[in-house]
């Protein structure tokens, strides 16, 4: 309730009906496009950052190899950001994900390297351990009622410590090839050697087709239920632009090594979790709890159960991030996962999640994570030192949230 006095709807109805400004179709459409852009400000920010760094790096940023690197280097942060934004929407926070990633990475080293278990068994066991960590933290948060900030702050120390215990003050490496593929692998050359990998292009094309079909179906559904839809021209423009971006992305990957395995994992996660958040009862309960916990409870929503499963899920995703990171370095070390929690939290907030809870999207968190990734990558290419990178990222987080707050105040929202 940042704005002290937005006029209520009834006020606007009571007194405003006779002075409705004359609007023609054109201004109507323009307003729609502008408000849409305002709502998707974060997407535009990503484009702006990409364009900026393409210039500053003389185009190196958009080279196929670098685009591929961008995905692989940021994959684990994006995996964490998915879980983190869900936790934040419910009004919690998780500070322990970096330590959990390190702990699980260390465990996977014991399984896959020291015990010599098959790679897939090591992966499954590690994910189970991650979920169990989530059970532990979820228990304290949901059923004992200790604030998530405290429980996960403790968890940050506990699991960093346990990671060191498991590692026994040494690094564990090197991992089996299949395991390493989680972080380094590419899916390509299935159809033989080509200049442009046909599989990658095919997947890109398929993604575009699925996107278009899904968008058109949603639009048809809304029309069928006589809801408002955006102007057709704008709808098509948006689809074309997004399809072009996917096409370019697929082209870049195809002309390098193909689709990174990390990207496949990420793609599946984004798809599944977007559906969970938008279309399942569980996801809608998360939003309801974040928006008003009391009201959710008195509507029969089992808030404790939702909180519990949120943290189990976060533990699972932290484990997955730990595996991807370990696989990428081919090494389970004591420093793994350092600061991951901060990047994941930043991604969620840059992506439009609200500190008070109730607001946020998976897509937003991914874009927020990509903005951080492009900043990291772009500044590294330019040879900017780590100290300035840190400062710039901090500033971007602050400005992104400030812009969001300003935007909401201007539109009179809450």
């Amino acid at each position: 309730m940042s704005n002290p006095n937005p006029p209520t709807i009834e006020e606007s109805h009571a007194a405003g009906s006779n002075i409705n400004p004359v609007q023609n179709k054109f201004t109507d459409r323009l307003t729609h496009v502008l408000s849409d852009l305002g709502r998707n400000g974060i997407f535009i920010a990503l484009i702006a950052v990409v364009v900026l760094f393409s210039f500053l790096t003389d185009g190196i940023l958009l080279r196929p190899q670098n685009i591929s690197n961008l995905v692989v280097q940021n994959g684990y942060i994006l995996v964490l950001a998915i879980g983190m934004v869900m936790v934040i929407i419910a009004g919690h926070i998780d500070l322990s994900v970096g330590s959990v990633a390190a702990f699980v990475g260390a465990c996977s080293g014991v399984f896959a390297v020291q015990w010599g278990l098959p790679w897939w068994l090591a992966v499954v066991l590690s994910l189970v351990i991650g979920a169990l960590v989530g059970v532990w933290q979820g228990f304290w948060i949901a059923y004992v009622g200790i604030p998530a900030f405290i429980v996960t702050l403790a968890g940050m120390l506990i699991f960093r410590g346990l990671a060191l215990v498991v590692l026994g003050n040494a690094n564990i490496g090197s991992f089996p090839t299949e395991y390493r593929a989680l972080g380094n692998g590419f899916l390509s050359n299935v159809f033989g050697e080509f200049e442009l990998d046909p599989l990658t292009l095919g997947v890109g094309a398929l993604a575009i087709v699925i996107l278009v079909v899904q968008q058109v179906r949603t639009r048809r559904g809304r029309v069928k239920y006589s809801q408002d839809v955006e102007p057709l021209a704008w709808f098509i423009t948006k689809l074309v632009l997004i399809s072009a971006a996917i096409g370019f992305f697929a082209y870049a990957l195809a002309s390098y090594k193909g689709i990174p395995v990390t990207l496949i994992i990420l793609g599946v996660l984004v798809l599944v979790y977007s559906i969970v958040m938008n279309r399942t009862v569980f996801g809608r309960h998360i939003y309801a709890i974040g928006g008003n916990r009391h009201a959710a409870e008195l509507s029969g929503i089992k808030t404790r159960r939702v909180d519990f499963w949120l943290f189990v899920n976060m533990g699972f995703l932290a484990a997955l991030a730990g595996l991807i990171f370990t696989a990428r370095l081919n090494l389970a070390g004591p420093k793994a996962g350092d600061g991951f929690e901060l990047e994941a939290i930043s991604a969620a907030f840059i992506g439009g999640a609200a500190v008070q809870g109730g607001v946020g999207t998976i897509g937003g968190a991914i874009i927020g994570g990509l903005i951080i990734g492009v900043l990291n990558n772009g500044m590294s290419i330019m040879g900017i030192g780590i100290e300035w990178q840190q400062a710039v990222k901090g500033l971007v987080l602050l400005l992104a949230v400030a812009f969001d707050v300003y935007n909401k105040r201007r539109s009179g929202g809450h």
Binding site: P4, T8, P21, G221, R284, H285, A295, G300, G358
Partner: protein, 509 residues
Amino acid sequence: MTNHILEMRGITKTFPGVKALANVNLGVERGEVHAICGENGAGKSTLMKVLSGVYPHGTYDGAIVFEGEEVEFKDLTDSEAKGIVIIHQELALSPYLSIAENIFLNNEQKGAGGLIDWNKTNFEASKLLARVGLKENPTTKIREIGVGKQQLVEIAKALSKRVKLLILDEPTAALNDEDSDHLLDLILHLKGQGITSIIISHKLNEIKKVADTVTVIRDGKTIETIAKQDVTEDRIIKDMVGRDLEHRYPDHTPHLGEELLRVEDWTAHHPQDTSRVVVDNVNLNVRAGEIVGIAGLMGAGRTEFAMSLFGHSYGSRISGKVFLRGKEIKTRTVAEAIQNGIAYATEDRKTYGLNLIEDIKRNISMASLKKLEKYGLVHDNEEYAVANEYRKSMNIKAPSVLVKTGKLSGGNQQKVVLSKWIYADPDVLILDEPTRGIDVGAKYEIYTIINKLAAAGKGIIVISSELPELLGICDRVYALSEGRITGELPVEEATPESMLKLMTMEKPR
């Protein structure tokens, strides 16, 4: 001709695309109590925000003349410096600070060296407390005193600013009858000391009690200003709604069916102080198609009874039996209560009823998402259609169901809450203060909805602080005092006097 302390002339305030106030005139005489009435959204609050500088000079048209000179306030501090103090419905006190600290917040009593002089602070505070008739130690924390007393602290705070014109926005909305009476007496007492008051209120009986003049606002326009001797409730209501309200309550002929709900020996203790009985051996029943009222003073345990019944949402050591259609049911969790056909619409919409940052649609579906589930996914177009249906049938005034509920007026928010529970399709609906903070026109609509639900065979329990309301809409009324049912009367036999007697019946000690 008259001695006006305040004159607002031709005030017009426009929000983007909306005219909230259109050429409003208001004249307040020195030393009077001036009431402003109007439906929610009529523009009362906007007018007061213009007056107090919340909307600064330049953002509205028209002139404000205070004590004979034209004033141009830039903010609240400006208007307070002139002696205009506004007390909002939602009190602006800090719960963890003491009474004295709150009174002198941003007006600290400083001693030598610019440090706060605590002796002076507490001494001055106790003098102010004596003026408002509040017997509390000034060092008591705000959260340790009740809402009624907090209201008095707000007035003491206003007095500390040498207030000349005191504006009270719905001052008794959250108070019980006793505290309300005390507050109204205080307003009259302050009038004796020369302080002019503007009181914004929905409650016509209290307006009649204290006001010398009544101005009615509707749709952002002044309808008329009525002098005390000409004030009648019917005239005010007619002005407010713009039409005659033949009856304040819609006609209702009950068609009673079988017994739906029966509660036996329901007892609940205080959640922290588990030895204190809050709900004491309550027995009651509701038949299909029946509207049953629960009357009780503030603190009688009405809400506590309802919430302990609804999924043990309140209290500790709860015991007793609940029967639905003669079959015993459990209501240990809210989900279980809903599943067994009981719904409870809270008295505090904003804190316990709505997700204010979400839209109408998602609020309506919140308790019944399972119904909209298809192949494990929520069917969102269906959800939209359902919500739209309720928007029309319940007459929720909003351009679409995608409007956030935080932007709706109280009456429309209440309709959203009711829609949520009607969609959940319970057998018994407990409505706690269903018309609190709602204007007369919307109240009538809510009553009509309640009647329709009863006609559809639901059992309705209405909890209300307003006796006329209970007697106007219920078929049968229970009186609750100190957590016990002290009486039960069919509405034909109940009078305000007989009810009040039951409601104040004390426990034999």
